[in-house]
Amino acid sequence: MSAESATPLTAPRPAKPKPAIPSGVLGVLIFIFTEIMFFSGLISAHTIVKSQAAGQMWPPYGQPRLPVGETALNSLALLVSGIVLVFTWFAFKRDPERARIPLLLSIVLGSVFVGFQGVEWVALLSEGLTMQSSAYGGFFYLIVGSHAIHAVGALIALIWAYDRSSKGLLTSTQLGTVSAFWYFVVLVWPVLYWQVYL
């Protein structure tokens, strides 16, 4: 061992700073930034294609209208699920045990949203709106489908968190990581709803 590489134990050792954001949460945040850009790309594409639709007919002639009202109600379920998750966080801070029920509620509401969206898809498909039928249909399934994949992924993560919490193993970083992603799924939805449905 050369003298240079060893730090004498007597030297004042600066303290290792505590990270501003825990690594797990930070990683998910960076990932969310990328995801936001992904959805921005989709929305930009949608805006451009919509803008040049023939005669400004959007949706194009002969294509079914989207169920604006029903989906608005359904979106409410998703938003409430997000709000419940906020309460979960504060409950967890006080007592991890108490966080389990709001977490479950949040999962159920999220599942309701995803399930109802699925029902809506089946109905629209039978009405003749498919990815191939027009750019309108293509973008609808692409954007809403991308969101659905993220929602399902986030739900699986939430269920995993619930599983850990029922075993008493859930840490606050884990809950923060998982809920950060669910917040993203919840908060990006109103934007998509505004762009695609309205």
């Binding site: 505590k18 501003a20 930034f33 921005s40 790309g41 930009s44 805006t47 451009i48 803008s51 400004q56």
Partner: protein
């Protein structure tokens, strides 16, 4: 950082010094106006968004770090 600001300022000055006529577009009659505006809007949107996000995150982290230095108990 000041220098970047100066560069931007100079660029804006250079731009505004160019005659207004440069914004005329006699060859633009082939595609619809909405389409051109959509391209412009999404260009601005896509370009600004990442910078806004990073700036926001940067400011937030700075605040957290400052806050934890002042009051280490806070971050626990």
């Amino acid at each position: 950082m000041m220098r970047v600001g100066m560069s931007t300022l100079l660029a804006f000055l250079a731009l505004s010094a160019l005659p207004e006529a440069l914004w005329a577009c006699p060859v633009c009659f082939d595609s619809s106006d909405e389409n051109r505006q959509a391209f412009l809007a999404t260009t601005i949107f896509l370009s600004i968004l990442p910078l806004g996000m990073v700036a926001g995150a940067g400011i937030y982290i700075r605040k957290r770090v400052r806050g934890s230095r002042k009051n280490p108990a806070n971050t626990k």
